[in-house]
């Protein structure tokens, strides 16, 4: 008998999943997050002298929902991050990699402060005037920051990833520059201007929460129910399809980035005009990058983005409390834990879009196959051509 020689098959192979039930998806994400937190807890417990594994989870929750103020702060921070994420959503749906949200937020903060400084503190205008000028000026500045890369992308296909990234550093640099102008002998920080700025509603948190809530509703309808939203998703899928359908791609790119910049501008306005009344170069709190990951995890769905933003805010706020309780000296541990979480969730996305099919045990089936083939060979010996086709590779038939 000739020996059957089969090439060694890999242990498993990867296929794309057509779709996955929502509960399964959520389950996978939950497993990933819990795994990341367990590893983080072990990591923190080993590195710290004072805390242990159980304390990690206790403080994580205590830091977010321990007091009423912390809950409010959690909501406000989550909403701010959600705002930035909603600014990025339309751009990303269009496959325009806007890494410049940090800069767009900070430039809006800077202009808000400039208006409060020149019109309010130095110019003596009323707060109402300051508010109106501040809203217009800061949002315009942010739009400008977003639209410059968009114009070059639309007309010359300039790499937007690095362009927007560089705009971040220019915005931060301008803040440092203006701090030197406003406080030449200072320690590099500005005095807040508490007398001017947006008016609180209810308490100090509600204005931000309300404004972002309105933006969320707007974004949902804009992306899912409007012609603009449809057009930008077509551009994201295929620029050529959009062109053949008669869409003006350049206009869509620029228009979408105006919207993206405007929302970032509103966030910056809230940060300086309502929350801090001051400005520094890292006032964005790296939300621009965090929001990128939040929107991507949500697969560019506005509703899911709410969940991912609050999840990330939960971990970062909780970790800030763990950090204090575990006696870590700087905030870097927060980034380590958030980094762990990202890696796990990113890896988890693989199991959502692909599945592994493991090799079935077929060794035992092989000889019987061969027998069947062999017996057939005797009965239909007249047609050798068709037989060889049906046989396994490497099996000689006529021996």
């Amino acid at each position: 008998m000739a020996e059957i020689k089969v090439a060694r098959e890999p242990l498993f192979h990867i296929v794309k999943r057509p779709n996955i039930p929502v509960w399964k998806k959520l389950l996978y994400y939950a497993i990933a997050i819990v795994a990341a937190l367990i590893i983080s807890a072990v990591f923190c417990a080993i590195s710290s002298d004072v805390g242990d594994f159980g304390d990690f989870f206790k403080y994580l929750f205590e830091g977010v929902i321990g007091t009423e103020m912390r809950i409010w702060l959690f909501f406000r921070e989550g909403m701010l991050l959600l705002g930035v994420a909603l600014a990025l959503l339309p751009a990303f749906k269009m496959k325009f990699w806007n890494l410049g949200a940090n800069g767009q937020v900070v430039i809006s903060c800077l202009v808000s402060y400039a208006v409060m400084f020149y019109f309010g503190k130095e110019g003596g205008s009323s707060n109402a005037t300051v508010i109106v000028i501040m809203i217009v000026a800061s949002i315009s500045a942010s739009i400008l920051w977003a639209v410059i890369p968009a114009i070059f992308k639309a007309f010359f296909n300039t790499n937007e990833t690095l362009f927007t990234l560089m705009m971040n550093y220019i915005a931060e640099g301008l803040v440092l520059l203006m701090i030197k102008v406003w406080a030449p002998s200072g320690s590099g920080s500005l005095d807040p201007i508490p007398d001017f700025g947006l008016i609180d509603i209810g308490n100090v948190y509600l204005l931000t929460i309300t404004v972002v809530a309105i933006i969320s509703v707007f974004s949902y309808f804009y992306l899912n129910k409007s012609k603009h939203g449809y057009e930008l998703s077509v551009v994201g899928e295929s620029v050529n399809t959009a062109k053949y359908a008669g869409m003006n791609v350049k206009k869509i790119v620029i228009r979408t980035m105006v919207l993206s910049g405007a929302i970032c501008g509103i966030i910056g306005l809230l940060l300086t005009g309502n929350i801090n009344h001051s400005v520094h170069s890292t006032m964005h709190g790296n939300m621009g990058f965090t929001a990128i990951i939040a929107t991507w995890l949500a697969q560019f769905n506005p509703l899911t983005t709410i969940g991912t933003c609050f999840l990330i805010t939960f971990i970062s706020r909780g970790m800030n409390f763990v950090k204090i309780k575990f006696h870590f000296y700087d905030t870097s541990i927060v980034n380590v834990v958030i980094g762990f979480t990202y890696f796990f969730i990113i890896a988890c996305s693989f199991f959502i879009s692909y599945k592994l099919i493991f090799k079935k045990k077929e060794k035992k089936a092989m000889p019987t196959d061969f027998m069947v083939d062999g017996s057939q060979a005797e009965t239909v010996a007249e047609k050798p051509a068709t037989k060889t086709k049906s046989n396994k590779k490497g099996v000689k038939n006529n021996d």
């Binding site: 990867i14 296929v15 794309k16 590195s47 990699w97 890494l99 070059f152 010359f156 296909n157 300039t158 790499n159 990833t161 690095l162 362009f163 990234l165 560089m166 705009m167 550093y169 220019i170 640099g173 301008l174 440092l176 520059l177 030197k180 102008v181 030449p184 790296n286 990058f289 990128i292 990951i293 991507w296 870590f328 000296y329 700087d330 870097s332 541990i333 927060v334 980034n335 380590v336 958030i338 980094g339 762990f340 990202y342 890696f343 990113i346 890896a347 996305s349 693989f350 879009s353 692909y354």
Partner: protein, 319 residues
């Protein structure tokens, strides 16, 4: 002018390591936005090994061993971060931009955390003097010695790596295979090239090289101070931009990194201007980068385009 050039070259290795590392990675079709984090990791690994070595052999450190050991540490740490990135993007086919950003967030955070908690900075001054040691007779050779022989060993390693990379990419079979993977992985796969292997190799080696950039900055340029470590992230982003500036060519990147370094130190070298003026000049490298981006996109010809499949993951069963 000579002074400015010398100062620029002495900083340029930071950009050069980062840029060449990213070029190797991008030639394999992976846009690694984790380079800033990976450079930080390299700094942490190298510095940690310096601490280990100096604590044990403080009395009589052997320069060559110290340098080799710390380079080993820098490369291993950077490769670890690169391994996470390559596993997620190559094996698990996750989005490269997102994974890169996560790597940067993790890398910068981990580095800061690791250094504040585990590293012993007490001997960094002494170690830096050994690592950044220059030839003693360089100054005596006039302008030639000053411009060409006046740097620590890491600067020459950076230039050597850039030249080797250029030779590897353009003159060897494996370099050709790597470029094929970056241009069209499906075709490369069809000709029997192991796409995953090349991608892993490119990302890991690229990360290792980039990691040396962070290590160089701390131990050579800054002289062993850990205070300004956050700057490495900005250097990382500039290195990624430098890749476009140099049109994906390692030899150009030697010159490009010197030019970038010159813009960067310009602000500190000019005297007699106000603080506001200094801050304005500090914006220059970023503005120049943008101008370069625009110019290459407007006047870029076919042969200076990025690898065709840059940023896209390869899944064999995709159509």
């Amino acid at each position: 002018m000579t002074d400015l050039l010398v100062a620029a070259i002495s900083l340029s290795a930071v950009f050069l390591f980062g840029c060449v590392g990213e070029i190797i990675t991008e030639k394999g079709g992976n846009l690694n936005l984790g380079i800033p984090g990976i450079m930080c990791m390299g700094a942490a690994g190298g510095c940690w090994c310096v601490s280990l070595y100096m604590n044990n052999f403080n009395a009589n450190p052997v320069g060559v061993l110290l340098i080799l050991f710390s380079i080993f540490g820098a490369v291993v740490f950077a490769m670890f971060a690169g391994l996470i990135y390559s596993f997620l993007t190559t094996t698990l086919k996750c989005n490269q931009n997102i994974t890169g950003l996560a790597t940067t967030i993790f890398g910068t955070g981990f580095t800061q955390f690791f250094m504040t908690n585990f590293a012993d900075v007490s001997h960094y001054d002494a170690a830096s003097k050994i690592i950044a040691a220059k030839l003693s007779f360089a100054e005596d050779l006039g302008w030639f010695g000053k411009v060409f022989l006046n740097y620590g060993v890491l600067t020459y390693i950076a230039i050597a790596i850039a030249i080797c990379t250029a030779l590897f990419l353009n003159r060897t079979k494996h370099g050709l295979h790597l470029r094929a993977v970056g241009e069209n992985p499906a075709t490369a796969d069809a000709t029997g090239i192991n796409v995953s292997l090349y991608k892993y190799g490119a990302i890991l080696i690229g990360s290792g090289v980039a990691g040396l950039g962070g290590f160089f900055y701390i131990m050579d340029y800054i002289g062993g101070s850990w205070e300004n470590a956050a700057t490495i992230e900005a250097f990382g982003w500039l290195s990624v931009a430098l890749v476009i500036f140099t049109l994906w060519r390692p030899l150009f990147s030697i010159l490009g990194s010197i030019i970038f370094a010159m813009f960067y130190i310009f602000a500190f070298k000019i005297t007699g201007i106000s603080q506001v003026g200094t801050k304005a000049i500090e914006l220059l490298p970023y503005i120049i980068t943008i101008i370069v981006l625009i110019f290459t996109s407007i006047f870029g010809k076919k042969n200076v385009q990025p690898p065709a499949s840059l940023g896209l993951n390869y899944f064999r069963e995709d159509r």
